[in-house]
């Protein structure tokens, strides 16, 4: 680990001042400290933001839920409102990492976390995300866990977060605060596909702080849930996953929100699946038909072709789990 200077911000203004001067914000630190030790990250200054007043979960005027950036994964998952309104968020959080890591990691940090691609974490390997222009060792390397959707010639790394898949499905908004004031970014625009600039992963400007993630209100009842498929039953990243929320009234699906994880360079929204569900009556045949398009556009690599079929099955199974109770 390279040396760094350390400062703790006592309020938001102090944090923003330090951030504007190039300081790197640290909240839970579970990704950042790990990557600093691997010398993938080399911040000169760390700004501890844990004292900032961003720890609340509140119901918004619009009827949605606003989760403060410094709410831990444990707290968010256990929160009464989150559990009752958006079980898909609670489930995605509790199926992530370990109890220890969830006690440390925050919601803001969760959506800022970086890929688990082993070549990104290995400073001796070629990686355009870590060192633009150096190449991508994963393309011709061992790429079983890598992305099949949203990839580019420059990068095939998956986004590791489960919670972000739930946020993407529910079309959350990210609240940011910077030197130029506050702004909101739709979740779909917050995490960036690699394209020709894989080193840019989030639409965060220099010195900006995430203050909250806001989930919009939906017609009730909204049934939702998260399914995660992985190599071991717990404490492992997703090979595929599905976040699904359905609103059924009068026996007809009125609203459908679907996103997949473990398969894309960003959480992968599935609008074609959503369209196939809207206006239809729940049935096993419908789940199978809607899930057919889940992997459309996939470009598998040498070792991850299995994800194409696994993704369709994951979506179909989770549609059945959520939909049969809707």
């Amino acid at each position: 680990m390279y040396p760094f200077s350390f400062t703790k911000a006592s309020d938001t203004r102090e944090a923003l001042n330090a951030g504007r001067r190039g300081g790197r914000y640290i909240a839970g630190g579970t990704t950042l400290v790990d990557l600093m030790r691997e010398t993938v990250e080399r911040p000169e200054t760390l700004v501890d933001i844990s004292a900032l007043p961003l720890r609340e979960v509140t119901v918004t005027e619009r009827g949605g839920l606003r989760i403060g950036a410094l709410v831990t994964m444990t707290e968010a998952a256990a929160h009464r409102k989150v559990r009752s309104t958006y079980p898909v968020v609670s489930q995605a959080l509790e199926l992530s990492a370990s109890a220890q890591l969830r006690n440390m990691a925050t919601i803001g940090g969760n959506i800022m976390q970086r890929t688990r691609c082993t070549y990104f974490r290995d400073v001796t390997a070629a990686c355009n995300k870590r060192e633009p222009g150096s190449g991508c060792a994963a393309r011709e390397g061992y790429n079983r866990t890598h992305a099949i959707l949203g990839t580019s010639e420059n990068c095939v790394a998956t986004h590791p977060s489960d919670a972000a898949v739930a946020f993407a499905a529910l079309e959350a908004r990210v609240h940011l605060l910077g030197p130029d004031g506050a702004r909101e970014v739709p979740f779909a625009d917050f995490l960036l596909r690699p394209g020709s600039t894989p080193q840019r992963e989030q639409a965060v400007r220099q010195g900006e702080l995430i203050t909250a993630v806001e989930i919009p209100a939906y017609a009730r009842p909204l049934k939702s849930g998260y399914l995660k498929v992985r190599d071991r039953q717990s404490y492992e990243f997703a090979l595929t996953s599905a976040a699904i929320a359905l609103h059924v009234r009068g026996g007809v699906i009125r609203e459908a929100k679907v996103a997949a994880g473990g398969v894309g360079t960003v959480p992968w929204k599935l609008p074609a699946v959503e369209r196939a569900l809207i206006g239809e009556r729940p049935s096993d045949r419908l789940w199978a038909r809607a899930a057919e398009s889940a992997a459309d556009g996939a470009r598998p690599l040498a070792h991850n072709r299995f994800k194409v079929e696994l993704l369709r099955r994951t979506v179909e199974r989770q549609l059945r789990i959520v939909g049969d109770n809707a």
Binding site: P3, F4, T30, D34, S98, A99, Q100, L101, N103, M104
Partner: protein, 213 residues
């Protein structure tokens, strides 16, 4: 109870055992070996490799006061120091183990302000005012914590390297109330890897200590 210590390289507040322990023996012998490699860097044990210590002449450091197992400690540490290294290398509390040093194995689990965390991913400089409990702080005198006793009763370890982390994680798991079934315990203890594969007995130990068996 509160003993303010001026610097980090000081013997623990509580009395240290008089006969040379295994730990003392290893520390002494490796210090001799280290002196040969470092060529003169003999006085202070660095938590980092000799390469890093030599590369950075005066790495930024900070002063931090925290409570460890009920005793107030004030230390000045290189900002890079993890809580795990602070405990093991500065405070001679070697119960917490360094397995992966990357948050993947749980061997370093301790309680910070009552919550279980990975001490390897916790920067010590961030712990001003924090209360840390390690495996050394669980027993009350000669009376073991119920989970420590349960690990013995259930024979819940082989090599023992992951055990302090398993026990601290188990204490957290019990406090959180995630001991409703063997399945629930397995899921909520999944952040602690046991290379010997003692999971069945570890679950039994947590069940015993939480009154389920």
């Amino acid at each position: 109870m509160s003993t303010d210590l001026p610097e980090s390289i000081v013997a623990p507040a509580e009395g240290t055992p008089t006969p040379p322990s295994r730990r003392t023996f290893i520390t002494t012998t490796t210090a001799v070996g280290g002196a040969v490699v470092a060529g003169g860097l003999t006085t202070v044990a660095s938590p980092f490799g000799t390469e890093e210590a030599a590369a950075a002449e005066a790495p930024p450091s900070s002063r931090v006061s925290l409570t460890v197992n009920g005793a107030r400690r004030t230390v000045t540490v290189d900002n890079r120091t993890s809580l795990l290294d602070l405990l093991r290398e500065h405070l001679d509390l070697t119960g917490s183990k360094k397995g992966c040093n990357a948050g993947a194995c749980g061997a370093c689990t301790v309680l910070v302000d009552g919550r279980r965390v990975n001490s390897c991913l916790t920067l010590a400089v961030r712990l001003e005012g924090a209360e840390v409990t390690t495996v050394e702080g669980l027993a009350k005198g000669d009376q073991l914590h119920p989970l420590q006793q349960a690990f013995i009763d259930q024979d819940a370890f082989q090599c023992g390297y992951c055990t302090p982390g398993q026990i601290m994680s188990g204490v957290g798991c019990m406090q959180e109330g995630h001991t409703g079934s063997a399945e629930e315990i397995r899921e909520w203890m999944s952040g602690n890897i046991c290379r010997c594969g003692c999971y069945v007995k570890i679950v039994r130990a947590v069940e015993q200590a939480s009154g389920r068996k």
